[in-house]
């Protein structure tokens, strides 16, 4: 159990929470090592030409990671994803300048990185990672610098579906800890949730109809964030250069800066993990959401799939029939729009609060039987774009026990063009 191991190794027991390792059945083995003097940098200066990294989170850790990634030789493309805007309180803990205050984090960092490496293609996405089309995350490595378990769950799931490695980083300011975890999807490899127990799931952030206080900022010092970012980018560099055997695959590397200790914990695949560990075979579609109708999408399920009603869906999102304002009770009908693409429709016209949809006003799988019977023909020719589908979305179509996954075309927006997501203004 990591907490106990940590205590034996001198790491305070209450550091467990940020180490994301419980006493789940996956198990973990920790060894404390002396500080390494081997020069890792000399073995891998570059990365494979033409590689692409998606960086999610541009705060205390991600801001520093962005600059380090931009300096990797051979990296061709960097996608930046963050829904937030920099404010003045970030100046002391994040890698920004005063001129960045008020700017979307992804936009501000993109401009900075283009000055560092003009040849680097930088694609900023101002959106919640849970709402970003899965195709936009299709990189060689995902680098996550997040401050919530829920967001980490989403990235873990995306990485497994796409079959690409991801590197998670975290800091704990009051105990001066910085750590990185490296996950590489494979049948025998642990994921983020393999080490989670019931207590970890109890800590996953939730959205309440009565509101609730937002999560407090970590307020970690910039130096700690920079350390975590450096560890993270070093691991990323190994993966991009093909030196997978040297990466901390399935492990956590933790630096206790207060006592100068370095711990490496190996995780095991948990046979009882709540996540299914399935990677998808995703077939590209040439059609854009505006050119593909609901009926045509449902027909994809009939090609080689099982019997039963064909249905379609997007993992992590639901189709919303109606929104209701928890404040004033105003309702808004939506005719099955994706929950992550509601945009301004989510805001109550009366009291400006974010509107929500209960489970009884949503469905996860849309088939012909959910469409209005009296206008079925018209509903079937409705383009997917009218429901909020975007280029890059991976649509799952099912019939019976068979399912297929298609990525909507055409190719994602031109690099350099800022993508503003339609999920902003809270969860639904």
């Amino acid at each position: 159990m990591l907490a106990t191991d940590g205590a034996r190794c001198g790491v305070p027991v209450d550091a467990k929470w940020f180490l994301t390792a419980g006493d789940g059945e996956g198990g973990a083995d920790t060894e404390m090592t002396q500080a390494q003097t081997r020069d890792v940098g000399a073995t891998s200066h570059g990365v494979i030409e033409g590689t692409h990294v998606a960086l999610i989170g541009l705060g205390n850790i991600g801001g520093f990671a962005a600059g380090l990634l931009a300096r990797l030789r051979g990296l061709a493309r960097l996608t930046l994803i963050d829904r937030d805007v920099y404010d003045a309180s970030n100046l002391t803990s994040q890698d920004i300048a005063a001129a960045d205050v008020g700017a979307p984090k992804a936009v501000a960092q993109a401009e900075r990185l283009r000055r560092i490496t003009p040849s680097l293609v930088v694609a900023p996405v101002v959106d919640d990672v849970e709402s970003v089309p899965l195709g936009l995350l299709h990189a060689d490595v995902l680098v996550a610098c997040l401050d919530s378990r829920r967001a980490r769950q989403s990235v873990n799931q995306a990485a497994w579906r796409l079959g690409i490695p991801w590197i998670d980083a975290g800091v704990q300011a009051d105990q001066s800890l910085a750590r990185v975890n490296v996950y590489v999807p494979a049948a025998d490899q642990p994921c983020l949730e393999c080490a989670w127990d019931r207590r970890d799931y109890d800590l996953v952030e939730q959205v309440y109809p009565c509101g609730g206080a937002p999560a407090p900022a970590t307020n970690a010092p910039a130096s700690l964030g920079a350390l975590a970012a450096a560890l993270q980018v070093l691991e990323c560099q190994k993966l991009l250069a093909g030196h997978t055997e040297r990466a901390a695959t399935g492990k956590q590397v933790l630096i206790d800066t207060a006592s100068h200790r370095h711990l490496v914990t190996s995780f095991r695949r948990n046979p009882a993990c709540r996540f299914d560990h399935i990677s998808w075979h995703i077939e590209p579609l040439a059609q854009a959401p505006s050119a593909l109708s609901v009926g045509a999408a449902l027909a994809l399920a009939a090609d080689g799939c099982g019997t039963g009603e064909a249905v379609l869906g997007v993992e992590g999102q639901v189709f919303v029939a109606q929104l209701t304002c928890p404040g004033c009770g105003e309702t808004r009908s939506l005719s099955w729009r994706l929950s992550g693409r509601l945009g301004l429709a989510r805001q109550c016209q009366g009291c400006r609060q974010p509107m929500m949809a209960t489970g009884f006003d949503t469905i996860e799988w849309l088939g012909a039987s959910q469409l209005p019977a009296q206008a079925l023909a018209q509903a079937l020719v409705c383009p997917l774009a009218d429901m909020g589908f975007q280029s890059g979305d991976v649509v799952t179509v099912r019939a019976g026990n068979s399912e297929r996954h298609f990525e909507l075309g055409p190719t994602p927006p031109e690099p350099g063009r800022v993508v503003f997501g339609s999920s902003l203004s809270g969860a639904c």
Partner: protein, 174 residues
């Protein structure tokens, strides 16, 4: 459907129907075909409160809540997505909105059992559990009423599942 999740749904249905059979205070209606329904309506016949159009707070004994288990319920749970208040709309309770189909039972742990959800709902409806913080309440008026009328709560003390005692009455021939 994921086999683990399907197994979970099957067990919830079995346990929920057992509780339904053992309780005279609620009925559980699956909305999807067996063996793994995802959605239910829980109809409670316990005593709760409603507010009349005239503004009077009176007792009522018919309440309905929709329960939904999303695909990822074992890994994350949003209370507003899992529970839908179906009626009556005039319900009077700090944790239940009288304008929108929302009920707040507090945190729902991912994978929380259906029977545990039902027990939580029963506690809310009968005022065995009610928030007294208006900034946290879906019905601030009801919250203020609770603070002034603590001596009247809970409005229904009957447990959801009552132990059935089998006995016979025989005349004593005297």
């Amino acid at each position: 459907m994921d086999k683990v999740f399907e197994g979970f749904l099957c067990r919830q249905c079995e346990q929920g129907m057992v509780l339904d059979n053992e309780s005279d205070l609620f009925d559980l209606v699956p909305l999807d075909p067996p063996p793994a329904p995802r959605r239910y309506i829980a109809c409670f016949h316990c005593t709760g409160l409603v507010r009349t159009p005239a503004g009077d707070v009176t007792e009522a004994n018919q309440f309905a809540v929709g329960i939904t288990f999303p695909d990822d319920y074992l890994r994350r749970a949003d209370p507003f997505r899992v529970l839908s208040w179906l009626g009556p709309r005039e319900v009077f309770h700090p944790n239940i909105s009288d304008r929108a189909p929302f009920i707040c039972v507090g945190r729902i742990a991912p994978g929380m059992l259906l029977v545990d959800l039902i027990y939580q709902l029963h506690e809310i409806i009968t005022f065995n559990k009610a928030t007294v913080r208006e900034d946290d309440a879906l019905n601030p008026d009801a919250c203020a009423w609770v603070r002034r009328n603590q001596d009247r709560l809970p409005v229904d003390t009957r447990p959801l599942k009552r132990r059935r005692i089998e006995f016979t009455v025989e005349p004593l021939g005297v």
